[in-house]
C-alpha cells in the first residue's frame, strides 16, 4: 500500500505525459509518446552505446566522489580537533563554498583537457565541500565524554580519531555524502554537456542537437532512473550502518 502511494505521483506524471501526446496537445516532435521513447531506449541498449556512455559517466562520478570522501572525511575530522589545521583550511573552504561548481567547467577543460580527468577533478571539488563540512560538524558535535572515556580506556589521540570521532560523526558524514552524491551526478552531466566525446551527458547533448528526441528522452530517463536507484541503495546502506541510532 505504502509502495503504491510512494510511486503514485510518478505514475500520474507518466499518465499525464501519455495523455498530452495522445491528444496532440504538444507536437510529437518535441514530446514523443512513451512507447516511442521505449522503442528508442531498446535500440540504444541493443547498440551497446548506452552502456558504454553510462559506464564512462559512472566511473567519473564515483571516482570524483570517492576521492572527495577519502580526502574530505579525514580533513573534516582533523579540522574539528586541530585548531591550526582549522585556521589554515577555513579560508579555503569558505572561498570555494559559494562558487557554483559548474562555473568551473571551462576552466577545468583548459587546465586538464577534454578527457575524463577534468570531469573527475570538477566532481571531486564539488563533492569535497559537503563532505568536509559534514565531517567537521559531525565531529564538532561529538559528546566530549566519549573521547574522555576512550582516553581513560587507553586510546591514543590518533586511535580515538578513527575509533570514536569517525563513528560518532558517521550520521552527519553519511548525510553529507548523500548531498555530494547528488552534486556528483549534476556535475557529471553538466561537464559532459559542454565538451566530451563520451558519457551520458555527451549522449544527451548529441542526441538533442541532432533532433533525435525519442532517444534523447530515453537517455535522460535512464540517468534519472540510475540516480534514483543509487540514492535508494545509498539510503538502505546508511540505514544499515546507522542501525545503532534506531531505538
Amino acid at each position: 500500500m505504502n509502495t503504491i502511494l510512494r510511486y503514485s505521483p510518478l505514475l500520474l506524471l507518466l499518465l499525464a505525459w501519455e495523455a498530452i501526446t495522445r491528444f496532440g496537445l504538444v507536437s510529437r516532435q518535441v514530446l514523443p509518446d512513451l512507447a516511442t521513447i521505449g522503442g528508442a531506449w531498446l535500440q540504444l541498449i541493443a547498440g551497446g552505446e548506452l552502456a558504454w556512455h553510462l559506464a564512462m559517466s559512472m566511473a567519473r562520478a564515483f571516482g570524483g566522489l570517492a576521492l572527495a570522501i577519502l580526502i574530505g572525511v579525514p580533513a573534516g575530522l582533523i579540522m574539528a580537533v586541530s585548531k591550526p589545521f582549522r585556521l589554515a583550511l577555513n579560508p579555503l573552504v569558505q572561498m570555494i563554498y559559494p562558487i557554483p561548481k559548474s562555473a568551473l567547467v571551462p576552466l577545468m577543460m583548459i587546465w586538464l583537457g577534454l578527457g575524463s580527468s577534468s570531469k573527475v577533478v570538477l566532481i571531486f571539488i564539488g563533492c569535497l565541500l559537503p563532505v568536509i563540512v559534514s565531517a567537521y560538524n559531525g565531529a564538532k558535535s561529538v559528546n566530549p565524554f566519549l573521547l574522555w572515556s576512550a582516553a581513560s580506556l587507553g586510546a591514543s589521540r590518533r586511535e580515538s580519531l578513527v575509533e570514536v570521532l569517525l563513528p560518532a560523526a558517521m550520521p552527519s558524514v553519511l548525510t553529507g555524502i548523500r548531498t555530494a552524491l547528488g552534486f556528483a551526478f549534476i556535475l557529471m552531466v553538466t561537464s559532459e554537456f559542454v565538451i566530451a566525446k563520451d558519457g551520458i551527458g555527451y549522449l544527451i547533448a548529441f542526441l538533442g542537437d541532432g533532433g533525435v528526441y525519442p532517444s534523447m528522452f530515453a537517455a535522460i530517463f535512464t540517468v534519472a532512473a540510475i540516480g534514483f536507484f543509487v540514492d535508494r541503495a545509498y539510503s538502505m546502506l546508511s540505514g544499515r550502518l546507522l542501525r545503532w541510532t534506531v531505538t
Binding site: A150, S152, L153, W244
Partner: protein, 266 residues
Amino acid sequence: MRDASRSAISIENVQHSYVLRGGKEIIALQNISLDIQAEEFHALLGPSGCGKSTLLYLIGGFIPLQEGSIRTRSGEVTGPGLERGIVFQNFALFPWMTVKQNILYGLRKANFPRKEAEDRAREFIQLVHLTGFEDAFPSQLSGGMQQRAAIARTLAVDPEILLMDEPFGALDAQTRRIMQEELRAIQQRTKKTVVFVTHDVQEAVLLADRITIMSPRPGRISHLIEVGLERQSVEDMLAQPEFTAKSEHIWRLVKDMAESAMRGPA
C-alpha cells in the same frame, strides 16, 4: 591518624580558573588539598558551581592542571591513565557499539588475548546483571542498564581508582536506589578507591566513608566529614537514627552554603 602510605590520591594546593568569553576570570577551585585513602569511598558533595566535577576531571587528567599537583600511586597525573577509570552521568557508552563491544573496547586496548577478553567481558556483564543484553545497543537499554554497562566497561580494565561523576543523577529514584546498593556491593568486593561526585546528601552519606563538602564561588573545601556509620543494607541504614542525624547535619551545612551562594558574593 591515617597512614600516609595508604594514600591513593593526594591533591596538593590545586587551583583552577576559567576565562569567560568576555575576559572575566572565574576561579573554579581555590586552594584544594585532599588525601584520599586506598580502598576509601570518598564523596565530593556540594551545590552546583562548587567545582566538584572540575576537581574530578582534574584527577582524571581530562583537563590540564594549572596549579598544584595531583599524585596517585602511579605518579604525577599528567593526563588520563588506566589506573583511573571514570563513569559519567550520561553514561558515555559508545552508541555504535553493543554492550559487549563497549566492554571489549578497553580490554582490547589493554591487550587482553581474544579469548580472555571475551571471558572477562562476560564476567563483568554478569557482575552488573546484564546477561542477555550483550548484543543490545545502548539506545535499546534503559538509563539504569546503560549505566550498569558503563560501570562494567570501566571496571573490566581493573583500574585502581574509580572516578564517578554524578553517575546516578540521570536515573529515576527507584533505579538510583538499586544502583547505589549494587555499587556498594561492587566496591566492597573489588576494593576500589572510589571518588564519587554528587549533590545528593543522602546518597553521599549512604555510600561514602568520608565526605568532602565543597562551597561555591570560588570552589573550596569547606568541611571534611568522617561518616563512620556501620555498613548495612540500604534499608537498614535508612532506618538508623544515626543516619538521619548525620544526613540532617550535613544537609544544614550544604544548605547554608547554597543559600549564601544564591545571595551572591558579599
